[in-house]
């Protein structure tokens, strides 16, 4: 198979600026994931190539990268499922500082996650057994609870590209997960946090996040529900 993998490289100890290096992988097959390709290059051709990875089947969220201009999990995308002619371009997730090659600094992403208070708040003493919740109410949370914090959505958003303080879709998804949880009592507190200049109103329903999400979460739908709730609160 003739395909060239064009990978963005940057080692802060050596390089002034990022550059691209091209690799050919003779043994590659269309049923390989992009992570398989990266592993093959690292293990057989270039040990200095650096990227994050762990579970290798789309659950841990470590290997979010940009593949042919789209944010994807390298392990969850097979070569046969992408459009390419001769070259597949692999770059780090955009809008975050690069530590090395495909590894980005996620500190700001995690800070924005922590700021929305991502934990159940309920000041009443819990009952002896479980808090009751209908399966319908529980299932309403499942989509948002699927989020693996891979940062593919947030870094795909043009609103983040122009404003680094923008909270971003992953944080809103987490807000949804608690605001719509019948067991949570801090909806107002959380809604206040996102009802700000760097908050939810900077979402312009561009749908990049939905396209980027490897777990196929309809993030924009969740954000719309939050916006609706915020508007309803004002009138």
């Amino acid at each position: 198979m003739e395909v060239v993998f064009k990978i963005q490289r940057f080692d802060p100890q050596k390089d002034q600026a990022p550059y691209y290096r091209e690799y050919e992988v003779p043994s590659v097959d269309t049923n390989w994931s992009i992570l398989d390709v990266l592993n093959e290059i690292k293990w057989k051709q270039d040990g200095t190539l650096t990227y994050r990875r762990s579970c290798a089947h789309g659950i841990c969220g470590s290997d979010g990268v940009r593949i042919n201009g789209k944010n994807r999990l390298a392990c969850a995308l097979l070569l046969q499922d992408i459009e390419y002619k001769k070259t597949v371009t692999i770059e780090p997730l955009p809008a975050l500082p690069v530590i090395k090659d495909l590894v980005v600094n996620l500190q700001s992403f995690y800070d924005k996650y922590e700021v929305i208070k991502p934990f159940l708040i309920n000041k009443n003493p819990p009952p002896e057994r479980e808090r009751l919740q209908s399966n319908k109410d529980a299932e309403l949370l499942f989509e948002s609870a699927k989020c693996i914090l891979c940062a593919c959505c947030t870094t795909s958003c043009p609103s983040l590209w122009t404003n680094e303080n923008y909270l971003g879709p992953a944080s809103f998804l987490k807000v949804f997960r608690f605001v719509f949880d019948t067991r949570d009592e801090a909806a107002d507190e959380r809604l206040n946090i996102i009802d700000t200049q760097d908050g939810i109103w900077r979402c312009h329903t561009i749908f990049n996040c939905v396209e980027a999400c490897p777990k196929e979460i309809d993030i924009t739908w969740h954000i719309s529900k939050l916006k609706k709730k915020l508007v309803a609160r004002k009138f």
């Binding site: 690292k42 097979l78 530590i99 991502p118 399966n135 609870a145």
Partner: protein, 578 residues
């Protein structure tokens, strides 16, 4: 750089996070993890976590206890199993109160499903005991525990790799040495109490459900420092890994009614376990699958490898989409299979370590088979061996183990901190780690990490797998010895300090080699077949000689085995039939 914390926890999976939540007010706690906490391997657990809540049908913790004892082929310590199964109910309710989004019953309680080896009335029929959240139970558990750590302002050190533990002259554990992956600096963490919750070693085998981070770090670091490892011969092979890839296809698929079929279309588990059939324990089903394949009743793929079919198509699209979305998604993505219409090709996959760092019921690490402990050192989760899983773990008991014993370890640390002071750090604590790292960086030999790792994984798969022979295990040990000496001549390409994953993989390979040696030595020694250890030279369980725990210790380069008796309280060993 030296950091000082009252508690240092290594590993941010379920056990480490649950222990961190126990940090008492006024004490400081650092959690060191080689990946971000939300990326720990706990997140890949799928089907459920069990407790006899009796939300769906009659159940009792005594039945759960019996199933766990029997599932473990009577090697588990029954006092510990009793604690776990009794405490399970409180532990699950606690997770619900912490916010875990469980699937629910029609009356709003936590939903429960069937799972392998879990029965009602001491083995009469399968019971709905596994509490679940679709097929993402581990993921939401990891998220929930991480969320609660954020609430409690736990200090995380993500992408820090532990390289050593620090033990002073009196034998008190007082810290760890770590390698900061992002900067390449070595740090010392000085602590009053240290907990190892470092997970498993699945990557010692070629086919595994385990993440690439499951490289046996904790086992090997302890082993090297002369701490015993218990029951390492018991390696769980999950019967249903996705063919060729080993990705886990949860037992929930069979809990919901999926069945295993051979190339004659037979539901072959009816022959091996007439009562519970496809819901027999994992060791039995893995052996049954291998037997079917050996006797010519498997399917052969285009690449010459074999598989068995897991059929869920008869469950209907609604059940599949609601209850098994994740695993059916894997089949679609990676094998191009549509599970609502076609069977899923599966093969056994290396899954879980029953053995590990020996602990008592409160997470104290034992330094010998007599039960003496090392002050200041704790362990919980997959890397630890309490032992609740005996010779074979039941599905859903691992997620339970981590929250029950993570918490107990955390509580024991709290107690210990009441009187324990910081003991002074010994001199040159970083030396061993620095030497190892600089050796790897400076080596100019011909060996590569990937070649050695692949050879190791092949030999473990081939010779220390589901069925073992003494000759095969000896072959593996010889190969491990060879790999160990070749490891000294490994060269890596990346010599830099920033995010050097080439170096990290080389360090992890060392841990895989040490852990594999411990598995193989323990396996060679046990001359019987029990649970996951099926030795063809000794096909029967031998309670007279082998109803005991293996304690393997490395001293001055030599391995030594001693034994600890099994604690038997309520259930006398019986023949294991399902």
């Amino acid at each position: 750089m030296v950091h000082k914390y009252d508690i240092v926890i290594v590993g941010a999976g379920g056990a480490g996070l649950r222990a961190a939540i126990e940090t008492p007010p006024g004490a400081t706690c650092a959690v060191i993890t080689k990946v971000f906490p939300s990326r720990s391997h706990t997140g890949t657990a799928q089907g459920g976590v069990c407790a006899a809540l009796a939300n769906e049908e009659e159940d009792s913790w005594e039945w759960h206890m019996f199933d766990t004892v029997k599932g473990g082929d009577y090697l588990g310590d029954q006092d510990a199993i009793e604690i776990m199964c009794q405490d399970a109910i409180r532990a699950i309710i606690e997770l619900e109160h912490m916010g875990l989004p469980f699937s629910r019953t029609h009356d709003g309680k936590i939903a429960q499903r069937r799972f392998g080896g879990h029965t009602r009335d001491f083995g009469k029929a399968p019971v709905k005991r596994a509490c679940y959240s679709a097929d993402r139970t581990g993921h939401v558990m990891l998220q929930t525990l991480f969320e609660n750590c954020i609430r409690n302002r736990v200090n995380f050190f993500p992408e820090y790799l532990v390289t050593d533990i620090i033990i002073d002259k009196k034998g008190i554990c007082c810290g760890v040495v770590v390698y900061d992956i992002a900067t390449g600096e070595i740090h010392t963490f000085h602590a009053r109490a240290v907990m190892f919750a470092t997970g498993g070693y699945g990557r010692a085998y070629r086919i595994t459900s385990n993440a690439m981070i499951s490289t046996g770090d904790g086992f090997d670091i302890m082993y090297e420092r002369g701490i015993p490892l218990e029951d390492m011969e018991f390696v769980q092979f999950h019967p249903t890994g996705l063919w060729k890839l080993g990705i886990l296809v949860s037992e929930a698929a069979r809990g919901e009614g999926g069945i295993l079929l051979n190339n004659r279309g037979e539901r072959f588990m009816e022959r091996y376990a007439p009562t519970v059939k496809d819901l027999a324990p994992r060791d039995m089903i893995s052996r049954a699958i291998m037997t079917e394949i050996r006797e010519g009743r498997g399917f052969q793929g285009t690449d010459g490898t074999y598989y068995i079919n897991l059929d869920v198509s008869h469950l209907g699209k609604k059940i599949i989409d609601e209850k098994l979305p994740e695993i059916t998604g894997f089949a679609r993505t990676y094998l191009g299979i549509e599970p609502t219409r076609e069977p899923i090709p599966v093969q056994p996959t290396t899954h879980y370590a029953m053995g590990g760092i020996p602990t008592d019921i409160d997470g104290h690490v034992l330094i010998d088979a007599k039960g003496n402990i090392m002050p200041g050192l704790y362990s919980a989760g997959e890397c630890a061996c309490v032992s609740v899983h005996g010779a074979n773990r039941l599905g859903t008991n691992s997620l339970l183990d981590i929250v029950v014993f993570g918490r107990r370890g955390g509580k024991a640390i709290t107690e210990y901190l009441k009187t324990a002071e910081f003991v002074p750090l010994p001199k040159n604590v970083e030396e061993k780690s620095r030497d190892h790292i600089s050796t790897i960086l400076c080596n100019v030999g011909k060996e590569s990490v990937v070649t050695l790792r692949t050879e190791l994984q092949e030999t473990m798969m081939e010779n220390v797998g589901i069925f073992r022979t003494k000759a095969g295990i000896k072959k593996a040990l010889k190969k491990i010895e060879e790999i160990k000496s070749r490891y000294k001549h490994t060269t890596i390409e990346d010599k830099g300090k920033t995010f050097n994953t080439d170096l990290v993989e080389a360090i992890e390979l060392k841990h895989l080699i040490g852990t594999s040696e411990a598995i193989a030595v323990s396996a060679l020694n046990r001359e019987e077949s029990r649970g996951a250890h099926a030795c063809e030279d000794f096909p029967k369980r031998d309670d007279k000689k082998w109803l005991k725990h293996t304690f393997l210790t490395l001293k001055d380069g030599k391995t030594r085995i001693t034994y600890k008796p099994v604690t038997i309280t309520r259930f006398q060993p019986q023949e294991r039939k399902y």
